[in-house]
């Protein structure tokens, strides 16, 4: 079987409805997009993202409520800050920072999600498998 990138998607409650909406409206996307639903994006601890990379994820996507949608401004901002910080960290250790993304999805944007996630998968495919996880395991 050909290599397929594995993507972990952390979704907050609102954006997980958006993910559900994609299936509901019949938008398909590759199966190797695995969702982890959390109550709020602020719950996603950076070490959890690192853990995902470590355990073999080729990319991690965080979906959250748009900060401009007013409600719950602060958690989305926190997540955004965390993700941008992590991206910088990834770069310093030589991992392409585009393997970690944040995506604003609200509860009815199924089409947007499937479009974006397919695009990201294509890009990750171009990047190839992440070998850092394997190296870390070997070294550790």
């Amino acid at each position: 079987m050909a290599w397929k990138p594995r993507v972990i998607v952390f979704t907050c409650w609102c954006s997980s409805s958006g993910v559900d909406q994609a299936g509901f409206e019949g938008f398909t996307y590759p199966p190797n997009v695995l969702t982890v639903r959390v109550p709020c994006s602020a719950v996603i601890n950076p070490s959890l993202i690192v853990k995902a990379f470590e355990k073999g994820a080729d990319a991690v996507l965080v979906t959250a409520c748009r900060p401009s949608e007013l409600r719950r401004v602060a958690p989305s901002r926190v997540t955004e800050a965390r993700v941008s910080l992590l991206r910088r960290l990834l770069r310093t250790i030589g991992v392409d920072e585009d393997r970690l993304r944040i995506l604003w999805i609200s509860s009815n944007e199924g089409g947007l999600f499937s479009r974006e996630v397919s695009r990201i998968l294509e890009e990750v495919k171009g990047l190839g498998p992440l070998n850092i996880g394997g190296r870390m395991v070997e070294q550790g």
Partner: protein, 1165 residues
């Protein structure tokens, strides 16, 4: 060891084709961590879990459809205490992946992850919260008041915090409300109104007079009876109005015999357990008790001169001396009599004659011309003549006296007034003698002819007295002794008593049944002149303070006095001259002295007494046996099931006096009831009757807004007023006026609210609203309530129906002269008053603060504030309001009437300029309503409405407003005018382009009304910050969800209602008030309002405090050197988790220790 149950749902077998359930099952059934795998057809079915044998605390993974569809079903009960995990295998696997293989692969991974998480979940506590079952309503507008009433009716205590001195909000300023233009009390034009001088006038006549007065700008004052906290007052009628009659009216008939018609919206004062209450006429029930005055006092009651009762032309004054004096005076003034004759239009030959007999009218004219006082001249008139037989009458007494009235009473009862003569029929010799004796005393020189009529079969022999006396004829006719007695009403009490004495001797009947231990006595009048006459008699008796009942008996009308007190006062004040009847009355008086029969219905005291007695009982621990009444009786009274009688109240108070503190407010109030000027009249009959007239009428009485038509019972003309006073009266509602919320702490179920009460400088507990202070206050201030149109004093009451009705001082204008302090008899004024702080602990908060209106000065093209005839619709409401500054006449500020009025819609709404982008919702309907009002007030006025789109979407708006406006000739122009210019005479030119025709035009009008929309001010933002809730881009408060949670905010336990969260009209505001009340009561009655998932602080906390700032809800507080989460406030958002550098905060089952194995399991090969 922990094991997991996996539930797979095939979604009614529809997923079987898209996913390999057998494979799923086989993969997991071999797993040692999995207890069992169950496949169900429909998990969303009712009791599906019970059918599969799953209940209670067990770890499950539910692989089914979208969690937003399924999770809510069982999270609502939290039966799994956070131990259930949900995997979406439908939308995320079966429907999102292209083929069966891939879908199954993805489902296996997701379920694997979920199993790992479910194994590590900890049960969450779901027990309930402490809930303080009291609510706070911020803002006392219509939404807030409705909300408070509904919460209070559910049995919870409510506080209303209002920043103004009175509750009422914007709606209190409105004249009438769309679409039905209700508000007013209306009654048919024939309803009698008793004025302060005793004149009985119909509503229609009063309306004509008042509108006439306005035209001549000569203000006569009319006063009528009004009700003000259990006292009968004469209050000023400020205006009257005429409205188109509805088809059906309600006729109310009471046990005293009062019969009145009302429009069904009309409010009537009834007795309720909480005290007097306003009830719509349509909601009245038979048996309701209405407040009715016991005694009708008339202020002006001087002598009534006979000469003033006579027609001007038919009688001539035959006093030669007087006439000579007049002639001399005329000569002095006009030099010759001929000049006088031509000037005064009096025939020369009359003046010239030595014994010039002038008619009364001529004499009055002369007096006026030569400056003589008619009051002095009439004293000199002793003899009158008239054309016809026996034309000379000498007046023994020049004004009405008892004898005269007695004679009139006899004539009224058994007499017959014809054009030329009066006849008096009777069978009783004594009465005939009495008649003749009296007549001889009044008119010694006049003849009265007595004849006997032949007795017919079965009849007694009848006697007839025939009198030819024009004077007596005219007086009797003028006083309407045979019509409705309306003119007698205004005479002195003494004269009325004499008249009644005569009437009693003629038609009255006294009966006494005296059996041992039981006395009944009755005085009745049987009348054949119809109901109105009987009611006239009832009113005359009421003038003397004697209560009677009027009822129809066959074709006769009976006026019946049966109350003990009333009988005694009848005997004392009226009595009889007829020997037989007088002796009967004496016997009644004697028997009554030993045993007074109670007045039955008329003796009942209000239900409120029961509560006051019960309060006293509880306060002073008075045992039931201490009361001088049967135990069951006292118990029923205190439970407010029946009313105590006056007699028993007296007895109770006699006992209570010895026990209680004499300054106890409850005791004092009971004492006041003893002196009450009102009794309770029972509704006997209610009927729907068709309206006979095209119009109904209404008067506005300042300041009480209620009056007593026909002296019968109290009615009011206000729509919001009753709602406000209901709120003021409700025992569960505490109104805190002049107050602001300063700080809110805590969360749902347990808010701690700090409120600042601004000083009013008048102690509300002492002020009784008498208004003496206003009379002495020397300073005026602009009046916010009347749109600055009529100034008020610096000490003022916001408006007439204010609740609470207490005076306040505006310190911005007060000069601290101290005159009011001297005038106040209750020492209620304290100029050194300071702000107070009140702390409340409530379980829920409803924000109903309303919104400000757009400030039209921000639109310079309309020159509001610069051109005085450009006004806002709120100012217009006050001008058109009957109780407003101009008394309901549409006047411009320069005093000219406005005949052409233009309305400009959407000022400050639906635009990107200084206003808001949204439609302001109410103004299309409001302007159409105002247009209709203008046309109703003045048929010659023209009205133009400049609109963008007419949005008449509410119930009744299309037909009652838009169609009626079109029928009424209101001109609609589709345009947003670009500018208003002013012409030389103060008129205005509206420059516009009609967007339907594309034509440009200029329209000259007298007045422009700007329909301004809502625009929240900065204060709203400050309040929102204090409450921890958000505002939207226009500045309105933001709801939790605009559609499914429109009344909730993001803070649980805080609700919104009314215009504070968007433009609304009255209907929607009240609906939202009730809706918010329902949410509050369900919060108070519900069992578990706590979210199971909330943040928890572990021992790792170092107390750095970074989380404090991260929490938007203020749910984290310091606790010693660490922090603590207020579980009721926490919304479970997780923002604090991100802020904590120690990772000391966790949220439910969403920690790293649960999520990390889940992620690993998903990625494992």
């Amino acid at each position: 060891m922990r094991r997991v149950t996996i539930l797979l749902c095939t979604c009614n077998s529809t997923l079987l084709g898209e996913m390999d359930f057998e494979r799923l099952r086989s993969v997991f059934s071999g797993n040692p961590l999995v207890e069992r795998v169950l496949v169900s057809d429909r998990l969303c079915e009712k009791n599906a879990f019970e059918k599969l044998g799953i209940k209670g605390e067990c770890r499950i993974v539910v692989a089914a459809c979208s969690s937003r569809l399924l999770e809510a079903v069982f999270n609502s009960s939290w039966s799994f205490k956070g131990l259930a995990e949900f995997v979406n295998i439908r939308e995320q696997c079966a429907w999102a992946c292209g083929n069966r293989e891939e879908a199954t692969w993805k489902a296996i991974r997701l379920v694997k992850g979920a199993v790992q998480k479910a194994l590590r979940d900890e049960p969450l506590s779901v027990d309930g919260l402490k809930i303080v079952k009291e609510a706070l309503v911020i803002g006392g507008g219509i939404a807030g008041v409705r909300c408070a009433l509904d919460i209070a009716d559910a049995g919870y205590r409510v506080y209303i915090v209002e920043k103004e001195p009175s509750i009422g909000g914007v709606m209190a300023q409105l004249d009438k409300t769309f679409p039905t233009l209700d508000c007013s009390i209306c009654m048919p034009g024939s309803t009698g109104i008793i004025l302060h001088d005793g004149t009985i006038i119909t509503l229609k006549e009063l309306y004509d007079k008042l509108s006439d007065v306005e035209r001549t700008s000569h203000k006569d004052e009319f006063l009528t009876y009004s009700f003000n906290s259990h006292s009968l007052k004469q209050c000023k009628i400020i205006s009257a109005q005429k409205l188109i009659s509805p088809r059906k009216l309600v006729e109310v008939k009471t046990s005293t015999g009062a019969k009145l018609c009302f429009t069904p919206d009309h409010k009537i004062l009834v007795d309720s357990p909480e005290g007097p209450a306003w009830i719509k006429c349509g909601q009245l029930k038979v048996g309701d008790r209405l407040y009715s005055p016991r005694k009708l006092d008339v202020k002006k009651s001087s002598r009534e001169w006979i000469i003033d009762l006579l027609p001007d032309d038919s009688f001539k004054v035959a006093d030669i001396q007087l006439n000579r004096m007049i002639r001399n005076k005329l000569k002095e003034k006009f030099t010759t009599l001929r000049n006088a004759s031509s000037y005064l239009d009096i025939r020369y030959d009359i003046l010239q004659k030595a014994e010039c007999f002038l008619s009364i009218g001529e004499l009055k004219r002369i007096c006026k011309a030569i400056g003589l006082n008619w009051a002095e001249v009439r004293e000199k008139v002793r003899t009158l003549t008239y054309q016809g037989a026996g034309g000379k009458i000498r007046l023994n007494s020049r004004f009405l006296d008892e004898k005269f009235m007695y004679l009139l009473g006899l004539i009224a009862s058994d007499g017959c007034i014809e054009t030329e003569r009066i006849r008096f029929y009777n069978t009783n010799k004594q009465l005939v003698k009495l008649f003749l004796k009296n007549y001889k005393e009044i008119f010694p020189a006049r003849a009265a002819c007595l004849t006997y009529l032949k007795s017919e079969k079965g009849w007694k022999k009848r006697m007839v007295i025939q009198i030819k006396n024009r004077l007596l004829n005219e007086v009797a006719r003028k006083l309407k002794v045979k019509e409705d007695l309306g003119t007698i009403f205004k005479l002195d009490e003494r004269l009325i008593a004499a008249f009644l004495k005569g009437f009693f001797d003629g038609d009255g009947y006294a009966r006494l049944t005296n059996k041992p231990g039981w006395v009944t006595a009755k005085i009745t009048f049987t009348i054949g002149n119809g109901y109105e006459y009987g009611y006239g008699l009832h009113l005359l008796l009421k003038r003397l303070g004697i209560l009677s009942k009027v009822y129809e008996y066959g074709n006769r009308v009976v006026v019946d006095i049966s109350g003990g007190e009333d009988l005694l006062s009848f005997i004392k004040k009226v009595g009889s001259n007829h020997p037989k009847k007088a002796s009967r009355l004496r016997r009644i008086a004697k028997s009554l002295r030993f045993q007074k029969p109670s007045g039955g219905l008329f003796d009942e005291m209000p239900l409120e007494c029961g509560r006051l007695i019960s309060n006293l009982r509880q306060k002073y621990r008075i045992p039931l046996r201490a009361f001088p009444l049967a135990h069951s009786n006292v118990a029923r009274v205190t439970r407010q099931e029946c009313r105590i009688t006056l007699k028993n109240l007296r007895r109770v108070l006699k006992v209570v006096k010895r026990i209680v503190d004499l300054n106890d407010p409850d005791y004092l109030k009971l004492q006041e009831f003893l002196k009450t000027k009102f009794f309770l009249d029972k509704v006997k009959e209610l009927r729907i009757v068709p309206s006979t007239d095209d119009y109904v009428y209404d008067i506005t009485v300042d300041p009480t807004h209620c009056f007593i038509p026909k002296g019968a019972f109290v009615v009011s003309n206000c729509i919001e007023g009753p709602l406000l006073s209901e709120a003021g009266r409700n025992r569960n509602i505490t109104i805190i006026p002049n107050a602001e919320v300063v700080e809110v702490k805590g969360g749902v179920g347990d808010f701690k609210v700090r409120i600042r009460v601004n000083p009013t400088y008048v102690d509300p507990d002492k002020c009784n609203g008498c208004g003496e202070c206003v009379n002495v206050c020397p300073v005026y201030q602009p009046n916010k309530y009347d749109a600055d149109l009529k100034p008020v004093k610096a000490i003022y009451c916001p408006f007439a129906q204010a609740v609470p009705l207490k005076y306040v001082i505006n310190m911005d204008y007060c000069v601290e002269c101290g005159l009011c302090m001297k005038a106040c008899t209750r020492a209620a004024i304290n100029l050194e008053d300071e702000p107070k702080t009140v702390e409340l602990n409530v379980g829920a908060i409803v924000v109903a603060v309303g919104s400000d209106l757009f400030n039209p000065t921000l639109k310079p093209e309309y020159h509001y504030g610069e051109y005085e005839n450009v006004i806002t619709n709120m100012e217009f409401e006050r001008i058109i309001c009957a109780s407003g500054p101009t008394g309901g006449v549409l006047l411009r500020r320069d005093g000219k009437p406005a005949k052409r009025v233009a309305f400009i819609q959407c000022v400050g709404s639906r635009e990107s300029g200084p206003g808001i982008e949204e439609c302001s919702y109410y103004c299309c309907a409001a302007s159409m309503k105002e247009a209709r009002l203008i046309r109703e007030h003045d048929r010659e006025a023209s009205v133009f409405i400049f609109y963008n789109e007419l949005r008449a979407f509410g119930k009744g708006w299309e037909d009652l407003l838009y169609r009626r406006c079109l029928e009424d000739g209101v001109v609609f122009i589709r345009s947003r005018p670009s500018e208003i210019r002013r012409t030389g005479n103060g008129n205005l030119l509206v420059v516009y382009e009609d967007t339907l025709t594309g034509r440009r035009g200029e329209l000259e009008v007298d007045m422009v009304v700007l329909a301004v929309g809502f625009k929240p001010s900065r204060r709203m933002l400050e309040l929102a910050e204090r409450l921890g809730i958000t505002v939207d881009k226009h500045g309105f408060l933001e709801e939790a969800h605009p559609k499914v949670k429109p009344l909730e905010t993001r803070v649980r336990g805080i609700f919104v209602a009314g215009t504070c969260h968007g433009p609304r009209d009255i209907v929607e505001s009240t609906v939202e008030g009730s809706g918010a009340a329902a949410l509050v009561t369900s919060l108070f009655r519900g069992s578990s309002p706590r979210l199971p998932e909330h943040a928890q602080v572990s021992a790792k906390c170092t107390g750095c405090g970074r989380c404090l700032a991260s929490c938007e809800y203020g749910a984290i507080v310091r606790d010693g050197d660490k922090v603590r989460v207020l579980e009721s406030v926490c919304n479970g958002c997780g923002a604090c988790l991100a802020a904590c550098p120690q990772e000391a905060i966790t949220l439910g089952n969403w920690g790293l220790e649960q999520l990390a194995p889940m992620v690993s399991a998903m990625l494992e090969d």
